[in-house]
Amino acid sequence: MSFEIPIGPQHPALKEPISLRMTVEGEVITNADIRLGYNHRGIEKVAEEKNWTQNIYLAERICGICSHSHATCYVQGVEKLMELQPPRRGLYIRYLVSELERVHSHLLWLGVAGHEAGFDSFFMYVWRDREIVMDLLEMITGNRVHYAINAIGGVRRDLDAGQKAKVLEGVATLKKRSEYYLNLGGTEPSFVARIAGVGRLSRELAIALCATGPTARASGVARDVRKEDPYAVYDELDFEICTADTCDVLGRVVVRIKELLESYKMIEQMVRNLPAGDIACKAPRKAKPGEVVSRYEAPRGENIHYIRANGTDRPERLKVRAPTLGNYPATVEMLKKGFIADIPLIFAAIDPCICCAERAVALIDARGGETAVVRMSDLRRQAIARHLNAPVKGNAAWPL
């Protein structure tokens, strides 16, 4: 017999409102369903009533962690529609903030992953170091979360020599620490044993379900917009796509730490080769009729904006697809045939309290549903049947 456990949208253990319905048999998840919309704000509809400049700040508020991603994706599309050529210095500063944001987002995720795996000292170390990059972002942009550095045609703030030196200094510290975490995350036995083999997503499924970002890259799909469709400055930078082929949570941790190291490389290149000149050019108030597709590699994966202009100062349509939506079908597959105890790990930022949510009072056969006293032979028969339907969990491998 299977039970359906509702988790969320309002749940003491959830950090963000999302509604999950887990169908479980004993401790094994047989089906998972995601219901969205609790936090739906109708931003695409609102965008049609605001002008091009106001929409930068609207796009920035789509997400609180990768806020710069949405604003940049929107702005680079609008610049194409208006046929603007932003100055090189402005672009370098804009994508410098992008990479710093990726660093802060990956460090945040890494800490949460450590916390969900029960490795809280890892979480505290990582979040302590995240403050370095948060301070750098505040120094460059003036804000810690919504940076608001983008303008149509460039950026709003310049970078001076002292700030450049501070960025390089901060990145050097972070680089040393991240190498230590890569070593720790890949070799600390209890941490590896907890995350290896959990939340499997095969390469074929990742491709079929259109997974994106580190989720796809951890399944061996080398898909990265920065390489495939290099926008703005990325064809001038030297970096690699980081992949792993373990297809599990361990792979996702390793991919993210390696991406941190690549981001430090890019930040150093951008700061050292920062061109001289203006940081912004003047933008017109209206855009000619036309359409543009803008793609951007956000920390969580590909971010895509489709913008249609009708000749006025407002967009005819602004379609936004954030990377997490693209990863939901894959997440459902990862949860299936897993353990309840792995939900927080697989869902990473979500920490649902399953055992409090559903608790049986009588002794109930999980398949038949009858309340009864069972004989040893029955138990043995059921144990064999259960073994045949055992959840898929790979053995802990030592990939590093």
Binding site: L36, G37, H40, G42, E44, K45, K80, I207, A208, L209, C210, A211, T212, R223, E228, D229, V292, V293, R295, E302, I304, Y306, R308, E316, R317, K319, R321, L325, G326, Y328, P329, A330
Partner: protein, 157 residues
């Protein structure tokens, strides 16, 4: 392979089924097909052009018709398949049999624009609340949000 080569190959493969092919920018190819040819075109893109990755599906209310764009990406370019369906009877075939990852996007255009997706494996609502009235589609241009007047319980009338 460059964009011009892909455009030429698409013209050869699709023939008269390609109603319009444009390449306005580097790595941006816009292809227009009729809804009846959509599944065939998507299958072709997946099998012969390495376009198995669907970024998203965008809908647009263009007055008499709804325009729908399927944004595909391959390692070398992006192909955006455009199709249109009349407002009086908006219908599109589902591409989930070819691209299983399309289901959430199809659910979204179904509830936001009222386009009926034939053969969708899961036709439930995605974002709108359960008590949302039937036949009201918020992303259509004729739908306007009216903020309900705020009533403070126990406040002055």
């Amino acid at each position: 392979m460059s964009d011009t080569e892909i455009v030429e190959r698409l013209k050869g493969d699709l023939g008269a089924r390609a109603l319009e092919i444009a390449n306005p920018d580097r790595r941006r190819i816009f292809l227009k097909v009729a809804p009846a040819d959509l599944v065939a075109a998507v299958t072709l893109l997946r099998d012969r052009y390495d376009c198995a990755f669907l970024s998203t599906i965008s809908g647009l209310d263009a007055g008499e018709a709804f325009e729908v764009l399927y944004h595909f990406a391959s390692p070398v370019t992006t192909i955006h398949v455009r199709t249109a369906t009349p407002r009086s009877d908006p219908r599109l075939p589902s591409i989930c049999a070819v691209i299983p990852g399309a289901v959430l996007y199809e659910r979204e255009i179904q509830e936001m624009f009222g386009i009926v997706v034939d053969g969708i494996p899961d036709g439930r609502r995605l974002n709108l609340p359960d008590d949302w009235p039937d036949g009201v589609f918020p992303m259509r241009k004729d739908w306007k949000h009216v903020r309900p007047e705020e009533v403070i319980p126990g406040g002055k009338p």
